[in-house]
């Protein structure tokens, strides 16, 4: 038996912080479905299991509602098994009833109740749909007593957080990590965790096919699952499905060389134009280097799909040369000295120190930076 395990499509998710690029990211999530279809055909897979959160909202717009259905329709030879998750729980007249009212084709299966469904004569799917956003009981508990034909594979499909799995899950919705063993499952396909993760020998989180946040998985993936037969351990192959890579880089730069090196390394990243990059910077830079770093970042922002700079831990440390670049003496130099003294005052409030630092950089850029740029 060969299936593709996917989850957390979250179609309709908004990306307003990306401004005009938002629609591109929304389309990328739909493209991931097509990529799943292609993978299915290429790997001779008839069933794609989606372990919850197909939609990002219980009340998506009519266009958002139809968009994934239309993508799946184009792969009529592939059976798509959709499961309500905590973002789109099944509730009467909710998003799934709206989908049903659209008139879904035969290759799209909505598993809206915990009832076993036969994938074929040798495999049974045990879906555990969420009927509300937050369940306090393990919704997979019923799987242990669920009857399936003798000799048939038992494949569980659920959305939730594995108990004691940590704080990464989005909702309580606890799932016993030993559910696969307890319910004699040959594979338990889970969703909710936006990162591909193996929980047990037969229990996996597929991750999202298109990342939607930094700090999660960088590349959108799905799992190609091969199960030789009842009781056999599944064979897992990761499939790339995402368009954009969401990368978070913690970096430390303390001088011009480090700044230049960072710039060089980042530019060596593949597919820069599809990189959603978040830089968490720390360190301290001379003002001159800081000015140069800013210019590099402006250039890099134009090179990548999106650049998010977190400079909270990056400090501008003016050197003697920086201060002399402002002036050797006189009003502006005294102003710079005063601001520097404020920045260096550890007893001052961090916000005010940060503001003084910004003011110092501003002074530098206005007085010395402009001169240097002109000179350059």
């Amino acid at each position: 038996m060969r299936i593709i395990h996917s989850a957390d499509w979250q179609i309709g998710k908004v990306f307003k912080q990306f401004g005009a690029k938002e629609e591109t990211l929304r389309q990328a999530r739909l493209s991931a479905i097509e990529r799943l279809g292609v993978h299915a055909r290429e790997n001779d897979v008839r069933h794609v299991l989606v372990a919850g959160d197909v939609y990002d909202s219980e009340a998506p717009s009519a266009h958002t509602l139809r968009a994934p259905i239309e993508r799946m329709k184009t792969f009529g030879d592939v059976h798509w098994h959709l499961l309500p998750g905590n973002h789109d729980p099944y509730r009467p007249e909710g998003v799934w009833d709206r989908v049903a009212q659209l008139g879904v084709p035969e290759n799209i299966h909505l598993h809206l109740s915990p009832i076993p469904a036969m994938l074929d004569e040798n495999a049974a799917l045990l879906p555990a749909p969420l009927l509300r956003k937050s369940e306090f009981e393990d919704i997979t508990a019923w799987m242990g007593a669920a009857p399936t034909p003798p000799g048939a594979l038992r494949i569980g499909l659920a959305h939730g957080a594995v108990v004691d799995f940590g704080s990464g899950g989005e909702a309580s919705n606890p799932i016993d990590p030993t559910r696969a063993a307890k319910a004699h499952l040959d594979y338990l396909a889970l969703g909710d965790w936006h990162r591909t993760l193996q929980v047990g020998a037969k229990t996996w989180y597929a991750g999202t096919p298109e990342p939607d946040r930094t700090g999660g998985q960088e590349q959108g993936t799905a799992l190609l699952v091969d199960i030789a037969g009842p009781g056999a351990p599944p064979s897992i192959t990761r499939l790339a499905t995402g368009t954009y890579r969401w990368v978070t880089r913690p970096e430390r730069i303390d001088n011009e060389e480090a700044s230049a090196d960072l710039d060089r390394r980042l530019r060596e990243e593949p597919d820069l134009s599809r990189l959603v990059l978040r830089l968490k910077l720390e360190g301290s830079l001379p003002l001159a280097a800081y000015g140069a770093f800013r210019r590099r970042m402006i250039d890099l922002d134009a090179a990548v799909f999106d650049l998010d700079l977190d400079e909270a831990s990056l400090v501008a440390r003016p050197t003697q040369a920086d201060l002399e670049a402002i002036d050797f003496d006189g009003v502006l130099r005294r102003s710079a000295d005063r601001l520097k003294k404020f920045v260096d005052d550890s007893s001052a409030a961090p916000d005010l120190r940060r503001r003084a630092e910004e003011a110092l950089v501003e002074l530098y850029l206005r007085v010395a930076g402009a001169v240097r740029e002109e000179a350059a």
Binding site: P60, S61, T64, V331
Partner: protein
């Protein structure tokens, strides 16, 4: 620079040559009255030094004399940097310029213009550069002393040069100001000028507006999502309840329970109906039994009554004859008594007639006594009536009345009075008749004998026989007319009264009064007869009454058959006889009435007894006949037997029904049970109705919620809410970013500004140091606060005061002191420029002006000071060189 002399020609009021001399180092005072031309001379110096000789400016045209045909010429003699210069310029007409140095001409025309500027260190140009430079700072024209000095760029450069030579340059000051201006500009794009709020069209205001818009959108989305969530929750509850309500097992159970309850209720109701039916039948059977028994009792009672009545009938038949006999006897006794009573009554009637006759006779006798009185009364009436008629006839003949008599008396009195008056006034006729004339002389109708004397009141004829007739006519007098009128009136009154004179009138009046007295006596008599009103009528009435009396007596006599009325004794005798007879008859009548009453009662009692027996006999016979109809003697036994049998049958039926009723009652549910079953049925029916109503309500609610949820879903509220949340976060970050940027810029600007101010304080210290002695002359301990460009911002004494808030006089004094200090500063650094004050210190009081003189004297130690004033006496204490203006007439 030290000015030595000034000459002008064709300048202002100086059409001819005028020279000012007496200049020296230190203080120079030109004190002259108004319109002497002090300010003109001041302008002439400025023009000579700073204007091109061929200039045609309005300033120059104003400077030229109106009536001068000569060019406007100014010649200035001055020392500078150890050399003596004389510059002479002619303007407007035949312009020229000549500059000599130490007595040697060194330049002419335009070269001379430029040369003098070079010597004085001024940039070539117009008057504007003069104002910008030290001369503009230190040469204070008329009215300009009130303004605080604001050094132009050139003057500032000079001052800066002077300061920097002492304290060094203020490094970066200009860059700092530029940076502050730029930063302030960026801040002002976001904030208002006061920086208290965002500028309405600035980025911060727009960002905040966007944030507000998205906050509202987020709140709206949140509300919608919340509402949707609530709707989902409600819908789930409704659907769960709907499932419960539509559960077939529950519905069947409810229906079955209701059917069972209804069946049990119907059974109970049927049992109750059967009991009621049985109760009715039992009651009917009981009534039938009672009817049969009743009829049996009645039959037997009828038979007994027939037997009893037959016995009674026999008794009554036996008693009836005796009763009839008693009745006849009683009736006979009664008839006898009636006859005796009738005889007594007849006798009583006769007695009554006799009594009546006697009564009429008594009345007639009484009326007969009245007849005599009537006759006397009639006689008196006829006599008095006759007297009255006679008196009235006599009175009608008397026409005079008392008023007429009184009037006649009055007229006589008036006539006598008039006659007396006329006599007194009239002539008197006196005749003495001689014997021969005796009898022949007549006065009027009066024969005169002897002596005659009379007043002539009217024409009087005196006839003397036939000898003569003499008429004596008195003269007319008004009293004659009056007398005549009175006489006429009197005659008319006498004629009307039918008398000849007043005496007769009085006699007639006396008679009239006698007749009236008699008449009143007759009336008094008639009044006594009660006939004063109408004696004739009273007489007629008496005569009528008299006739009636007579007729009545005649009628009584006729009725009683008597010839004459009896006397009183006869009447009394007859009356006594009648009374005795009446007593006897009354006694007999009472006795007969008692007997008659007794007999009547006996008859009535006999009749009652006989009638009672007859009635009872008739009733008994009727009763027997009726009872025999109901119970014939020959059918009595058969009927009795049949009724006895019927009673027995009814009794049996009634007992059967009662037993059945008891049995059914014991088996049927009691009323409490029936009521319980009814309540149960009602409850279950109501529960079913509620169930159906709730189901309908639920379906309506489900339909409504479904519509709402579908509508919300179609609107994509979840997606819209998420978008609004992110937009709000972005807007918040943008606001925070701008605000932080503004705060950073403000910090930077304030820091640079503070540093600039500190540097400026140090930089301006030389100015303040030079100013301090001057200030101390007037304001001990005071410090001036200088702003950018050497502007006087304020003065600090006990506290800081804004320059603009100081009095006008103090402002002028400070302004002059600042110029003096700046002049000193420049002079010490080689920029020795004379200070010229034209009509300054106008508002100084006596104390202050002396202090200002001290300050001026202090300044004059470093440079030449020229004071132009119109207040000679006030400025006398200033001392110094006295300048004089000498015109061509005064010049040698």
């Amino acid at each position: 620079m030290l000015i030595n002399a000034l000459s002008v020609e064709g300048i202002g009021r100086f059409a001819g040559v005028a020279r000012v001399d007496g200049f020296g180092a230190g203080v120079n005072v030109l004190a002259a009255g108004n319109e002497v031309g002090k300010s003109t001379l001041f302008k002439a110096i400025r023009a000579c030094l700073f204007l091109r000789h061929d200039s045609k400016t309005q300033e120059l045209r104003d400077l030229g004399s109106d009536d001068s045909q000569l060019p406007a010429t100014v010649e200035l003699d001055f020392d500078h940097d150890g050399r003596r210069y004389v510059i002479r310029k002619s303007f407007l007409r035949s312009p020229s310029a000549v500059l000599s140095e130490d007595g040697r001409e060194i330049a002419r025309a335009g070269e001379a213009d430029k040369a003098i500027w070079d010597i004085l260190g001024m940039a070539p140009g117009s008057g504007r550069s003069i104002e910008d430079g030290a001369f503009g700072l230190l040469w204070v024209g008329q009215g300009a002393s009130f303004s605080a000095p604001v050094p132009g760029s050139s003057a500032s450069s000079l001052l800066n040069s002077a300061i920097e030579s002492e304290v060094g340059a203020l490094v970066g000051g200009e860059r700092a100001r530029l940076a502050i201006d730029e930063i302030t500009g960026e801040i002002r794009r976001n904030l208002t000028d006061s920086e208290r709020g965002p500028r309405s069209d600035g980025p911060l205001a727009r960002a905040r507006e966007r944030l507000e818009v998205w906050r509202k959108a987020e709140a709206d989305g949140f509300a919608k999502v919340g509402a949707l969530e609530k709707q989902f929750s409600e819908l789930a509850q409704y659907r769960r309840r709907h499932r419960e309500l539509t559960d077939p097992a529950a519905a069947a159970h409810m229906t079955r329970e209701l059917m069972e309850a209804r069946n049990k209720l119907r059974e109970a109701q049927a049992a109750r109906q059967e009991i009621r039916s049985l109760e009715a039948e039992t009651s009917s059977a009981r009534r039938a039994l009672e009817g049969a028994a009743q009829r049996l009792r009645q039959l037997r009672e009828t038979a007994q009554r027939v037997d009893r009545n037959r016995s009674l009938e026999a008794d009554l038949n036996g008693a009836l004859p005796g009763l009839l006999l008693q009745e006849e006897e009683a009736r006979a006794s009664l008839a006898r008594t009636v006859e005796a009573s009738a005889a007594t009554e007849s006798e009583a009637k006769e007695l009554t007639v006799g009594e009546q006759h006697l009564g009429r006779l008594v009345a007639a006798a009484f009326r007969a006594s009245r007849k005599d009185e009537l006759i006397r009364r009639l006689d008196a009436l006829e006599r008095t009536t006759g007297s009255l008629t006679t008196i009235d006839a006599q009175l009608t003949q008397v026409r005079i009345d008392p008023e007429t008599v009184d009037r006649l008396d009055d007229l006589d009195r008036q006539l006598a009075s008039l006659d007396a008056q006329l006599s007194a006034a009239a002539a008197t006729v006196a005749i003495e008749v001689g014997p021969a004339g005796a009898g022949r002389v007549r006065v009027g109708s009066l024969d005169v004998d002897g002596n005659y004397a009379a007043a002539v009141l009217a024409p009087t004829k005196i006839t003397i026989g036939d000898l003569a007739t003499i008429t004596v006519t008195p003269a007319l007098h008004p009293r004659h007319e009056a007398r005549k009128r009175l006489d006429v009136e009197r005659s008319a009154l006498l004629a009307a009264s039918g008398v000849g004179d007043a005496v007769e009138a009085h006699a007639i009046l006396t008679r009239r009064r006698d007749l009236e007295h008699s008449r009143r006596g007759v009336f008094a008599e008639l009044k006594g007869l009660e006939a004063s009103d109408d004696p004739a009528k009273a007489g007629a009435a008496v005569r009528s009454e008299l006739a009636e009396v007579r007729a009545a007596i005649d009628a009584v006599l006729t009725a009683t058959g008597r010839a004459a009325l009896p006397g009183q004794a006869e009447i009394d005798s007859e009356r006594l006889g009648h009374e005795q007879r009446r007593v006897m008859l009354e006694a007999r009548r009472e006795k007969l009435a008692a007997a008659r009453q007794e007999h009547q009662k006996a008859v009535e009692a006999a009749v009652v007894r006989r009638a009672d027996v007859s009635t009872r006999l008739e009733f008994v016979r009727k009763s027997i006949a009726e009872d025999l109809v109901l119970c014939p003697d020959d059918d009595r036994a058969a009927r009795d037997a049949a009724l006895v049998a019927e009673v027995a049958a009814c009794e049996a039926t009634q007992q059967t029904k009662a037993a059945t009723l008891v049995a059914v009652r014991q088996a049927a549910p009691d009323s409490a049970e029936i009521e319980r079953r009814e309540l149960r049925c009602s409850r279950l029916e109501r529960a079913l109705e509620n169930h159906n109503a709730e189901l309908m309500s639920l379906e309506r609610d489900i339909g409504r919620l479904t519509g709402q949820i579908q509508a919300a879903g179609g609107d994509g509220v979840g997606e819209a809410y998420a978008a609004a949340q992110e937009q709000r976060q972005i807007a918040e970050r943008e606001c925070a970013r701008i605000e932080e940027r503004i705060a950073t810029l403000q910090l930077l600007r304030d820091t640079v500004g503070d540093c600039l101010a500190e540097g400026r304080d140090r930089y301006y210290e030389p100015v303040r140091r030079h100013l301090r002695p001057y200030l101390n002359d007037l304001f001990p301990g005071a410090e001036l606060e200088l702003g950018d460009g050497f502007i006087i911002a304020g003065m600090k004494r006990a506290r800081s005061e804004s320059f603009k808030r100081l009095s006008g006089g103090t402002q002028e004094q400070i302004a002059v002191l600042v110029r003096l200090a700046m002049g000193t500063l420049l002079a010490e650094r080689g920029g020795n420029v004379p200070i010229i004050l034209d009509d300054a210190l106008v508002y100084c009081d006596d104390e202050r002006i002396n202090m200002m003189f001290d300050a001026l004297s202090r300044a004059a130690r470093h440079q030449q000071l020229i004071v132009l004033t119109c207040r000679s006496r006030s400025f006398a204490p200033l001392g110094g060189n006295t300048l004089r203006v000498r015109t061509s007439d005064e010049l040698p």
